[in-house]
Subunit: 337 residues, 2 copies
DNA sequence: GCGTAACCGTGAATCGTTTCATCATTGTCG
DNA sequence: CGACAATGATGAAACGATTCACGGTTACGC
């Protein structure tokens, strides 16, 4: 069934070693021989067996990227950045989805460990510590993505979410808003916690400004629409004049809830709205949503860079921590009327 | 560095064969021995080497799913359905993205072939024929997804896109519209062609109804917004009173273009709008968009089922072709005022 | 014509796991 | 007590590619 080097060698009248050489260092083989072997390969439809190759090599040329949610455009963009950079280095990226469950995350990591992947790019769930330590012990390089740790033993690339939160809130405060609401959750997710923290800092610095917290169960469009109803009431009651959502999916959901009722409130007149991530849907919303932009593809490509650096690093050596600064993109949803 | 069965065997004072038996058929090994081996495994932190295992087994327990666009929620949902079903069968799914390029598609397929994957679920690009034939020749089962072929040699699971297109257009016609526009492209994509075909059939059946075609370069939000400007002019000019978009991303983009100008037209009063796929963003749009729903997860799970069936099928045996019927979900964007 | 170096090819060993024929041990029964 | 099963454990072969020390040719200069 399967064609192996042996058959190719026989057909071309050379040894298996030579076939391997043709495949891997053709410059060391006489042109005529290369030709003959190539022909045999084509005639037999030979396809190298990656498992055998990898067994010999000791590790694969695959990188794993584990994200919290494949449906979130933010992560697919990070993945694209990683893929592009990995391809340049001759590596392949496989994408896995933890769905924010540390259980699924652990399963994927174990799976990847058996595959002896060249490294793991991990957007960690709340309690990924043990799993990461284990990887490291077994000699698999790990880079944490979208999570800045002060931990010197693991490299990381992230965006300063506290700064991002501060930025978003400050922007709302500067345009005269005082009664802010933060929409996001669950609290366990550090991105959410950091963005809230930043917003809180900005609010504290301004006299008479307040920050109400509206909790969600997930960072999805649906959750945004659900809590949007509550936000709508608060706006009507005059308790809130600006909303900062922990990500764009939530922001879009909240906007729908605010606009789609029989008697909608006006954005930005009655209430301003800021999101986070700057996914393409944000710019395309009815009232285009101001958002905090993260260099998504760059996050992915940098993560791969760190991973490559990791490979030739002594065990005790300090790890690099790259922290990108986010950028506020102002759109109609916060433009002062 | 790497711990192998050999070391585990030595530590536990048994042979390598026994370690393997503990791993794969523990019921054939005395309880006390199992215990001892398990301890050794834990102490040494042994992790089986998937490459070696696979080399021996001859093929992997991984399924490949190649989609046209990972960022499209439709495909991520199909993927989830496939993953769930595959997990039940003890298989893993890896996701790859062709970005509608048959070149990237080919590369991925070659890659998967070297990996000797257990099978490939393929959402094919326009000219995937050769690549598929090649896979089949090499004994790798293939199931085409989202593409109904009359081809008896390849199994497929798809949704009746012609019926879906007919359904969408008929719905618009029934609610009194006569000047329809079809937004979609490029023509090469068969889903687009089929949906248009269905719409054309419905329009032909009604006296005085017309169908204008508005071409796009891709099925994305951005393209929708771009051509939306043209659609807006046509609506203003009274040339169009209903739009059928080839997918929801386009529909959402078109809606933004129609609503966000200084002097927006009214949906559904001035123009009705139908999309395709029923992604969650469709229901969450400002004016919730009517859409043709496909059983996404079921498509994925059925594809896996067909693949499993494929494995124990004679080469000449006929392949199954599952064709799901889509379902129209009516929302505000087409409700008669 | 000979020595040498450069160039090509060879083939056996190796990677880690599974499988399977075979051996060893224990227990059972007549 | 001996024959026979049943049960556990063994160890060598095999999977397919790569590597590397080594052997055979060729070409060249003297």
């Amino acid at each position: 069934m399967a064609v192996s080097v042996r058959e190719v060698a026989q057909r071309a009248g050379v040894s298996v070693g030579t076939v391997s050489n043709v495949l891997n260092r053709p410059e060391q083989v006489k042109a005529a021989t290369v030709e003959r072997v190539r022909e045999a390969i084509a005639e037999l439809g030979y396809v190298p067996n990656a498992a055998a190759r990898q067994l010999r090599a000791g590790q694969s040329t695959t990188l794993a990227l584990v994200v919290l949610d494949v449906s979130n455009p933010f992560f697919t963009d990070v993945a694209r950045g990683a893929e592009a950079r990995a391809e340049e280095a001759g590596l392949t990226v496989t994408l896995a989805n933890s769905d924010e469950s540390s259980d699924r995350e652990r399963k994927h990591l174990e799976q990847f460990e058996t595959q002896r992947v060249a490294g793991v790019l991990l957007v960690p769930t709340a309690d990924a510590g043990d799993a990461v330590a284990r990887m490291r012990e077994h000699g698999i390089p790990v880079v944490l993505v979208d999570r800045g740790t002060p931990d010197a033993t693991v490299a990381s690339v992230a965006v300063d979410d506290v700064a991002g939160g501060r930025m978003a809130a400050a922007h709302l405060l500067e345009s005269g808003r005082r009664r802010l609401a933060f929409v996001g959750g669950p609290r366990g997710i550090h991105q959410v916690a950091d963005r809230f923290e930043g917003a809180a800092q900005a609010v504290e610095a301004v006299d008479g400004a307040s920050l109400t917290r509206v909790e969600t169960d997930a960072l999805t469009l649906e959750e945004g629409m659900r809590v949007g109803a509550a936000v709508l009431k608060m706006v009507r009651a005059g308790e809130v004049d600006a909303v900062f959502a922990a990500n764009d999916l939530l922001a879009i959901g909240v906007q729908q809830a605010l606009l789609s009722g029989a008697d909608p409130v006006a954005i930005p007149c009655d209430v301003a709205l800021v999101g986070y991530d700057d996914i393409s849907f944000a710019a395309a919303a009815v009232v285009p949503i101001s958002s905090v932009r993260q260099p998504r593809r760059q996050i992915g490509s940098t993560a791969v860079d760190l991973l490559l650096a990791e490979r030739d690093k002594a065990d005790g050596a300090a790890r690099e921590h790259v922290l990108f600064q986010p950028e506020l993109v102002v759109r109609a949803s916060t433009r002062t009327p």
